[in-house]
Amino acid sequence: MREYLLGNAAIARGLLEAGVGLVAGYPGTPSSEIIENVVSLKSELPLHVEWSVNEKVALEVAAGACWTGRRAAATMKHVGLNVAADPFMTLAYLGVGAGLVVICADDPYCHSSQNEQDSRRYAQFAGIPCLDPENPQEAKEMTIFAFELSEKFNIPVMLRPTTRVSHAREDVEVGQAEQSAGKGRFVKDPARRVALPIHARPLHHELLAKQASIEEELEKAPWNSIELKGDTGIIASGIAGLYAKEAVIELDEDLSLLCIGTYPLPRKMIRRMLEHVRRVMIIEELEPVVEEQVRMIAREVNPQVEILGKDAAIPREGELDYLRVKDAVAKMIGKPVSREPADLPMAILPPRPPSLCPGCSHRATYYAMRKVFGKKAIYPSDIGCYTMAVGMGTVDTCLCMGASITLASGIAFGGEKEGICCSLGDSTFLHGGMTGLLNAAYNKAKITVTILDNSTTAMTGHQPNPATGMTATGEKTTAVSIEGLARALGAGMVETVDPYRLEETMESFKRARDYPGLSVIIARQPCVIKARRGGVRPKTFQVGEECIGCKLCLDYDCPAIEFENDKARINALCSGCGVCVAICSSSAIKEVTK
């Protein structure tokens, strides 16, 4: 049966068809829908699926489960692998029980990320095989294959979809979900489970020794294909292979083509290509992982071959697309490239950047924060919807999950004399902020930490977190108290406010600003999207005759406030938060009572 599936839904199907026993992950675009789809497909299958507190936790939980003999997977975005790098590197030594698959979704072009690092480098670094799918169907099949490979060579395997695979859709052939097999018993084996130096040394040797047999196995895998024709060739990896296949058809030329989907690379195939051609273009997104290997092999096989890659028309940053690939190939073979893009008057268009929703409580919190701390204060921020408030002047930094608190501490210890008020969301705090808060308390940082608690992980699609009292599958669980955590981690002042109550929030920020130690403000108001879905009926507001056109309300930057004929007007986007009532200097904004 074929279904029109999102790449991430296809991967979820692959997990179920492989009889996975546990899936753990932390949300992050473009990976989030994998776990969401596993949740909606699992029904009565005996399968543990969880949103973990962060990616390191997810990978460790998955490793533990695979050591009981159940197939397990951890899902994350590329930068999540930085958080999980510690277990990732050493798991390559220790090996698996049943198969262990690390699904790490890369984001070339930073569509929704802070960098565009290439996870193939991580796999190479760790000595872990990596599968690089070109489309959803292949991503599904590779998921199943990854478990088999992992078990055969006693090593974790990485599946590395990119945004254009995870968020592509395709008609995918789907099969039957399998029950998780495996005993569910941990077998004691200290030589392979305890990474003492005396165990690690032989395990490192073993890891290096098995690389050749993994490569030999992958050489036979269906994810690598070679077609030798003319003396000009293309070697392309992952989705670039799909673009290259389309380009070869469109250009209607006699080109040799090697498409690669596995790492370690199929070096025998690369040798055959290099022996056959006079020149070859290496087409891959981001890092020259394939290109470096090809250049090394060429030195042995055919030093005369001309190799084009990152120094030609294939950029090392951003994502590729079909036209870019076709034009690079056309240029190489001396064919005309595509015509110039149409000349359209783009300058007349107003920018439409993503922005905080009307009624978003982060806007209210930041407004109050800025009023109290002032323009000169330093505002380290973090990763979440609130990063979009950069235009409000309260987002001075965004580095990685939880770094707001630690950067704020360092800025304070560095000698900054202005006030320092940092901010991060509830999910981000629980993911990577808690250790930073503990450190700030321990080392006596005089900063204010604002936890923007909208009681969900909003940016990635409203996943629950440990403070919401709900698991990934919708079961009730302990709702961890953020106030309790903040106190336990050593904050001297902890206050909770409702950011919709502007004056009270400002009073609270004043107390935090003047507090002689580490203060924490928890600004709690449910995400407006989630509240609406939950059936919260918005209040209605309108601007009365009293409006003097002072534009003070425009400073709030809410998409629901417009200016028309020098008067403010509230448009249909209003979600009824009522914060603007407190901002208006002439009491012109009033609730409409029906």
Partner: protein, 195 residues
């Protein structure tokens, strides 16, 4: 040689229902036994930003439509039609909902929203057919402004190589059954508008 039977680019503002249109088309293509692929916008850009969706019917290659390659550009918002017009083939058709959604850069007075004529004129110069319709008004006539995307789907149904019967069958898979009647009405109003 053509590598796709029909290339579509569907654009709008996050929350307008761009993905529903491609989901219906993809399912309908599967019902018709045609290969189909596409690419979506998720994550940060969804929050009130511009969104673009690529759908390629009868295609097994790149999930994205090439610039200048779209047979049909479906715009749920007029400014977004122009923003993504470079995807449209000069031989293609643009279907444009004329009801603007003002971005915050405009409501706050930092930028100006062009007139519909200023948007449509360069589109008309660029491609051979531009069809403008007030899909939001038609959706309201069908029963709810929310069905604007389905009005546009109805208009689009005239230009794609999949039968109306299969599109409606796929629509029924996607829309909750209690809203199906309104959506069917919206579909036929959109279709009639371009006849």
């Amino acid at each position: 040689m053509r590598t796709s039977e029909c290339d579509l680019v569907i654009v709008g503002v996050g929350g307008q229902g761009v993905i529903l249109i491609s989901d219906v088309l993809g399912r309908a293509a599967v019902l018709a036994g045609k290969p189909v692929c596409g690419a979506e916008t998720h994550g940060m850009a969804q929050r009130g930003g511009s969104v673009i969706n690529h759908t390629r019917i009868g295609c097994r290659f790149s999930p994205m439509v090439a610039a200048g390659g779209a047979d049909v550009l479906v715009a749920l918002e007029p400014a977004e039609a122009l923003r993504f017009a470079q995807f449209l083939s000069p031989a293609g058709v643009a279907l444009v909902n004329t009801r603007p959604v003002l971005p915050s850069t405009v409501t706050s007075g930092r930028a100006k929203y062009p007139s519909i004529e200023e948007i449509l004129a360069p589109l008309k110069a660029h491609s051979c057919r531009v069809i403008a319709l007030d899909a939001t008004a038609l959706a309201q006539a069908a029963g709810t402004a929310q069905a604007m995307n389905v009005v546009m789907l109805g208009a689009l149904s005239r230009y794609i190589p999949i039968s109306e019967e299969l599109i409606l069958q796929a629509l029924a898979q996607v829309v909750p059954s209690r809203f199906l009647e309104i959506n069917r009405k919206a579909f036929f109003l959109g279709k009639a508008e371009v006849e």
